[in-house]
């Protein structure tokens, strides 16, 4: 066989394995072995258990590829990963961001972790942490009881022993009613055109735990001439991706995509307050789950983080900038998932428009929790150590008079709140408050 034929056969096989295989798996070939990724890994910074993204990523990838592609593929048993320590990766994604050669390190490692789960029996705990919408539904239904027990020390001890969720890990409070029930049934027959309405992907956090965040976004959007359409939806699937349950995540994606793709094709923009959900719709359906069809592409291209959307409005001169004065110093943490968007730090751009508001970029890599990572019994201490310098900066800002902090991602907010006892708000809540302050002074 000629070399060209081998290459052709290999790339056909790669294509058959997954449409994004060359984009992710084969990007290992671009690795210069420069170790830049290892210098930014927050987990490797605090523990020996994880050797760093380079070792489990591009370095290990050649062994994975070797067993996936012909001619070896036919005879060699497929190995999920030569190195099981990939499970200590928190999935923050900072390695991909830092890589000067555009290697998809974090995506590679997430896939390797999912492959490991297909070989080793997954833990019940990891399955449960992927079921955010199921947990949310049950929790809201029994919210007083659920909130009491999930914040009761004896129950938390029991949960740690039985399930493996750390007793001090930050768990949010269930809302009394879901966002969807507070909003009432969305009337699909009566939708304003795409220049006067956006479609909300509220995600699990805003639906089950923090309806006020979505309501703040709806209010801010209304103020700028946009009604909000709230279609039927399920969890974006990210918690399943993070815990290595790709099949389940694909199921979630497939139930979301047709509805949202339909809106996207009609010119509606999809806006979300959870920066990790919107990042999943934008990038992870493709890069992790291999969903590269027309629906996935349409949704990806139409999705906006709420602050990104508002900054874009401002850029077009369409943002209502009649903000009232909010005289405070506001420490701000940019979450890892937001950096994955590659949209800069739009919340800081918005804060700069509010008179009196002095935002401080806390300039720390990661709060540690990385979605559900920091909730796990064996990973809690790592997550706390990762976030420790951030917590110190929040505490120091608080002792200097800051009454709250801001952060775009829900799990990060809960982690920082738990660690510092300082309330942490979504930027959109601050913006909504600035509008409210403006209305008060005007009237």
């Amino acid at each position: 066989m000629t070399i060209a034929a081998v290459i052709r056969e290999a790339s056909d096989a790669a294509e058959a394995l997954s449409p994004t295989f060359p984009e992710v798996a084969l990007s290992a070939d671009d690795c210069l072995k420069c170790n830049v990724c290892n210098t930014v890994c927050p987990v490797a910074r605090v523990t020996d258990l994880f050797p760093g993204p380079k070792y489990v990523g591009p370095q290990a990838q050649r062994f994975r590829i070797a067993t996936m592609l012909p001619p070896q593929g036919a005879t060699t048993p497929r190995i999920a990963s030569p190195d099981a320590t990939v499970d200590w990766c928190s999935g923050c994604g900072l390695c991909t961001i830092a890589c000067p050669a555009d290697v998809k390190i974090a995506e590679m490692n997430s896939r390797a972790r999912a492959d490991l789960k297909t070989v080793h029996r997954p833990r019940f705990r990891d399955w449960l942490l992927g079921q955010t919408d199921l947990v949310g539904r049950v929790g809201v239904l029994f919210s007083p009881l659920a909130n009491w027990s999930l914040h009761n020390r004896l129950f938390r001890w029991l949960i740690e022993k039985v399930v493996g969720i750390h007793r001090r890990a930050p768990l949010p409070m269930f809302a009394r009613r879901t966002l969807r029930s507070r909003l009432g049934e969305a009337s699909r027959g009566n939708e304003p055109p795409p220049d006067r309405a956006v479609v909300l992907f509220h995600g699990c956090a805003a639906n089950y735990y923090e309806p006020h965040v979505a309501e703040a976004a709806i209010e801010v959007l209304r103020r700028n001439g946009f009604e909000t359409i709230v279609p039927e939806q399920v969890c974006c699937g990210l918690p399943m991706i993070s815990n290595g349950f790709y099949a389940g995540a694909r199921g979630r994606a497939r139930s979301n995509l047709p509805t949202f793709a339909d809106y996207a094709r009609r010119g509606y923009r999809i806006v979300g307050t959870s920066t990790s959900c919107t990042h999943t719709l934008k990038a992870e359906y493709r890069e992790m789950l291999d969903l590269a069809d027309d629906d996935a592409r349409a949704v990806s291209e139409a999705t906006w983080d709420i602050c990104e959307f508002l900054v874009d409005l401002h850029d077009q001169g369409r943002l209502d900038t009649h903000f009232g004065r909010i005289a405070e110093t506001l420490p701000y943490h940019a979450p890892c998932q937001l950096r994955g968007h590659g949209i800069g730090l739009p919340a800081l751009d918005l804060f700069a428009l509010v008179p009196g508001l002095e935002a401080i970029d806390l300039d720390h890599d990661c709060c540690g929790v990385a979605g559900t990572y920091g909730l796990k019994k064996e990973k809690y201490d790592i997550a706390m150590a990762v976030g420790d310098p951030l917590f110190a900066r929040v505490r120091s800002a608080a002792s200097a008079g800051a009454s709250r902090a801001a952060c775009d991602s829900e799990t990060c907010r809960w982690q920082i709140e738990q660690a510092t006892s300082t309330p942490v708000r979504h930027p959109i809540e601050i913006i909504a408050a600035a509008y409210a302050a403006g209305s008060t002074t005007a009237s």
């Binding site: 420069c34 830049v36 961001i97 830092a98 950096r339 968007h341 590659g342 949209i343 751009d349």
Partner: protein
């Protein structure tokens, strides 16, 4: 909103130097980079110029500036070098990073961690003890760390014992009289796998751990033979965020002066340099966004009006009055050599000056003269604006800096840092907005 007076593309030494100098003028400056840059790969010193035949960096700059073909960037920048270097050193000193050596100091053979020697005159304080001439009877103790696979003291010593490593120019007393190799067991490192420089440097930041570690290094050096005069060469892991304190403690408690040997990437001295530059930029209100590659640059009537960042989905436009192009050479992605022999500058499609495809490489891979391809780059006018083959300015408000500049062979001429600093500062002087701008507030938490 997404608007900057100047967008700097690239976060290496030249880009960050330009950005800091711009921020000093009160300009709103945003640095964008597709990933971390060459600072993480380099030795952290200042290579100004060390071509064959140069006795000092200043001498080297003069030799390179005088060369007719190809014209070296120093032909335009030579008068900026001294002032730029002094300025960068003052910026770094205020971030706690000190350097030793001057442009008129002799270039000396400094031993390296692969048992070779390189010629240097200006080094970070941590490497400075390598610069002093070796006195008669002076001993070099190469101290490795048990379990650390990036530094092999016995192999380094064996190689360094060969006279030719130190260069033909060296007189017998220009090298240590004796070279010893020792290995020290550092606290709680036994049995660890993947012991790496980053981890070791972070351990040295911990005062309790390092005081025990220093004790063990002192003991190991003491056991290695009659003390006498000498110096210790140690892998460059003496602290990451608290390097000055680690170095001070090492100098105070060890029986001999110590110097660091830079290692394979990630380079700890390079990381220290990057952190100091980044901190200096932020302190001046500049912005730095890593991980967003530039998708394209919008040019209207020979002026850049915006830089489009490729985000996860759609482009993010940053409107700007000027651009500093600090994207590096081939290694950094600033230049691309196509298989068909074309040399491409991918962002603006600027004309690249360089050899024809048949002349890219020389027959001897280790030719002292370097490969002709190394000189490829963008030709500029005195304001660092890119020129075409006819010498006409291609884009008005763009400045080319660093290793993207045509005519240098930074590997053999060892001029990369000097060109980066001088061109970075020149670019800032040229592009600084003339109108008064309120400086953005420095927002560094306590």
């Amino acid at each position: 909103m997404p608007r900057a007076d100047v967008v700097v593309v690239g976060a290496g030494l030249s880009g960050l130097t330009a950005a800091i100098a711009l921020a000093d003028t009160g300009a709103a400056v945003e640095v964008v980079a597709r990933g971390h840059a060459a600072t993480h790969w380099t030795a952290g010193g200042f290579d100004i110029a060390a071509p064959d035949g140069a006795s000092t960096p200043a001498d080297g700059v003069g030799l390179l500036a005088a060369r007719a073909r190809p014209r070296h960037p120093y032909a335009r920048l030579r008068d900026d070098v001294a002032e730029s270097l002094a300025w960068v050193r003052s910026v770094l000193a205020s971030e706690g990073l000190e350097y030793v050596g001057e442009l008129d100091d002799p270039l000396r053979a400094v031993p390296t961690s692969i048992g070779g020697a390189r010629r240097a005159a200006i080094l970070p304080a941590g490497q400075a003890a390598a610069l002093a001439p070796w006195a008669p009877g002076e001993r070099l103790v190469i101290c490795g760390i048990a379990g650390f696979k990036d530094f092999w003291p016995a192999a380094i010593a064996t190689s360094l014992r060969r006279q030719e490593v130190w260069g033909a120019a060296g007189s017998p007393d220009a090298r240590p009289s004796r070279i010893d190799a020792i290995v020290v067991d550092l606290p709680d490192q036994a049995g660890r796998h993947n012991l790496n420089a980053l981890e070791l440097a972070r351990r040295f930041d911990d005062p309790a751990w390092r005081s025990e570690a220093m004790g063990r290094i002192a003991d190991a050096v003491g056991r290695s033979g009659r003390l006498g005069p000498g110096r210790i060469a140690f892998p460059a892991v003496l602290g990451l965020n608290d390097h000055a304190a680690v170095l001070e403690e090492a100098q105070r408690t060890l029986p001999l002066p110590i110097f660091e040997m830079p290692l394979v990437p990630p380079s700890i001295p390079g990381l220290r340099l990057y952190y100091a530059l980044r901190s200096a930029l932020r302190r001046r209100g500049g912005r730095l966004v890593v991980g967003e590659p530039v998708a394209r640059v919008v040019v209207e009537r020979r002026r850049v009006t915006a830089v489009a960042m490729s985000a996860a989905v759609r482009e993010r436009l940053i409107r700007t009055d000027a651009v500093v192009l600090a994207t590096g050479g081939f290694a950094g992605g600033g230049l691309i050599g196509e298989p068909d022999g074309r040399l491409v500058e991918p962002l603006l499609g600027l004309p690249v000056e360089g050899p024809a495809a048949a002349e890219w490489l020389s027959a001897d891979p280790f030719d002292r003269a370097g490969h002709p391809l190394e000189t490829a780059g963008i030709r500029t006018d005195a304001d660092l604006r890119p020129l075409d083959g006819a010498g006409k300015v291609v884009v008005e408000n763009v400045a080319i800096v660093g290793s993207l500049l045509a005519g240098q062979r930074y590997l053999t001429e060892r001029c990369g840092d000097g060109v980066a600093i001088a061109s970075g500062r020149r670019a800032a002087a040229v592009l600084a907005p003339s109108r008064a701008v309120t400086p953005a507030k420095a927002q560094v938490p306590a």
